[in-house]
Amino acid sequence: MTENSVELCEVTKRHGSTIAVDRLSLLVRRGEFFSLLGPSGSGKTTTLRLLAGFEQPDTGKILIEGLSMERIPPNRRPVNLVFQNYALFPHLTVERNVAFGLEMKNVAPAEIAVRVAKTLDLVRLSGKVERFPSQLSGGEQQRVALARALVNHPAVLLLDEPLGALDKQLRQEMEVELKALQERIGITFICVTHDQEEALTMSDRLAVLNHGRLLQVGTPEEVYSAPATAFVADFIGVSNGLSGRVQDVDGDHVRIAVDGIGVLCSPSLPGLSAGRSVRITIRPELLRLSGEYEPADGYQNQLNVRIAKAIYSGSEMQYLLTLPNNLTWKARVPNAGGRAKRFHAGESAYVKWQAGEAVPLLE
């Protein structure tokens, strides 16, 4: 047995003239919570449907638990899908919905009863076995859909925007619950979402897709703190960016000349040399603000900005900053119980960050 639950090798899928999935290669390890993150049209749902077997790749190979899935229909694959709209059987009770897969596999009735009861207990729906889907709330329907898939003990559970239809508070509860459930039962979860917060909270690892291409794979921390492309940096939370040209490389650091701003210091990248176009990105929560210029070493960046807007949002202040070149950046400063210095719209300030906090990207 391999340690990989799912392998995609150079998978391509076209829908008419558009490429839905473009030479996608991925390894998903056994027992991990893996997310496919991307905007709509990024190919994440098509990837999930290829894994479920509703669509066949034009080229490339898909292995699940080491077995080739070529020409294997959905009903003979060791995976189950939790549909975005849940797709519960409206004519069957909760209990019969959950029992459906086991009945189709001709499992003995006594065993079906035990497993259905156990799974409904797991998703805390034991009291609603006789209800019909139309008599349940959205959150309950979601848990029935989950139970209906999990009761079959699939090798891989596929989830299509599992929390998309729930309201915000319920969604945040379910994020934690879903992750805890996955850890308890140890099944590989592959979850499609367009919500970066959801992906970061739940995943062990995640893949960012755009236009059918894989942009980056890694742990949430890796993807968040070291985005591989400007798109990833933007998509995983708002990022501030500046484009410039490399002036000189100094060991681990480079100095970058930015029009209308000056020279900024950033970590180096392999293959960087003087003259290359480069973009640096930095997260809003890493920026610090102060009222006056502070002399510092060459590894600190400091820009004179104007506060365009100051927004109070409880635990933190959100500032919109106008840079000397008229670009707008965002900064998030914790309020620290009112001890942090407060800036107001129209004021002048200095925004600072350590060279190492910025992420350089080749352009």
Binding site: A52, P73, N75, N85, F100, K105, N152
Partner: protein
């Protein structure tokens, strides 16, 4: 105490109630009354109450015709379902713009008189008709076979006539079916047969019931189709009743036959709703 609802007479109910009474209840009462009268010497109605009409229905000849009618109607319903279901499914799954066109094609035959269309079938089914000519010139058969004036011809005619009444309610039911529910069943290890019997059919049940009733009920009483396409031995109950009224001029016996037919259909429908309608796809 006077409430706004009970105090006033619901005048608006009068027109529909009056027309229902005039055109439905009253004729029914008349037919029911006539069924207890007896035939006059020259075909009139003699108002001497008698049960003789009902008694003579239990002649094996008439019972056989009743039985044949129910059986032919049931067969028509089944054949309509077998042809109608794939058709309705196809239309329900077609792109929106095509749906309108396909539904129109289903309805277009209604624009022509039913009698004319049945005559057209006579030309197709005749020994030297279209069907035999085509089959023979294609070399599939070398002797023309006799189709017109057989039970098969009657079934063909009935299926042709009532197929839209099966397709339209089935379409309405299938169109509401969420395709992801079918995918869910597929994902949960159901093969094509199980997907059909366990998910599609139960969810289309209201359409199946409506379609079956809409085909079965008029088929039992059909008389144009068996009259034109059926042979001397293919008489159905509709023909018998028509004969009593127009040929034999025994109105009392025709009325009694009509009433027994009505009761038979009601019982058959009740039986269908109680057993076939629910049990076969529970």
């Amino acid at each position: 105490m006077k409430t706004s609802g009970s105090g006033r007479f619901p005048w608006l109910i009068l027109p529909p109630a009056a027309s229902l009474f005039l055109f439905f209840v009253l004729p029914l009462i008349l037919v029911f009354a006539v069924s207890f009268a007896s035939r006059g010497t020259y075909g009139g109605i003699q108002w001497t109450p008698t049960l003789a009409n009902y008694v003579s229905i239990f002649d094996s000849l008439y019972l056989q015709i009743f039985w044949r009618s129910l059986w032919m109607a049931a067969l028509t319903t089944v054949v309509c379902f077998v042809f109608g279901f794939p058709l309705a499914y196809l239309i329900a799954r077609a792109p929106r713009t095509w749906q309108a066109v396909l539904l129109l094609l289903i309805i277009i035959p209604f624009w022509t008189n039913f009698l004319v269309r049945t005559y057209a079938w006579m030309f197709i089914l005749r020994t030297e008709g279209l069907l035999n000519t085509v089959l023979m010139s294609a070399g599939i058969i070398d002797q023309p076979f006799n189709l017109l004036f057989t039970d098969t011809a009657v079934i063909i005619g009935l299926v042709y006539g009532y197929l839209p009444f099966m397709v339209l309610p089935l379409f309405a039911a299938l169109e509401r079916l969420d395709p992801s529910v079918i995918e869910a069943a597929w994902d949960l290890y159901a093969g094509p047969v199980k997907v059909f019997t366990r998910v599609i059919l139960p969810l289309a049940k209201p359409g199946v019931i409506a379609g079956s009733l809409l085909v079965f009920i008029p088929s039992v009483g059909a008389y144009v189709t068996p009259d034109l396409l059926g042979g001397a031995k293919s008489m159905m109950i509709g023909n018998l009743i028509q004969q009593q009224y127009l040929v034999v001029r025994d109105w009392p016996f025709g009325s009694a036959l009509s009433f027994v037919l009505m009761v038979a259909v009601l019982l058959a429908v009740r039986y269908y709703l109680k057993s076939g309608g629910s049990k076969s796809f529970g």
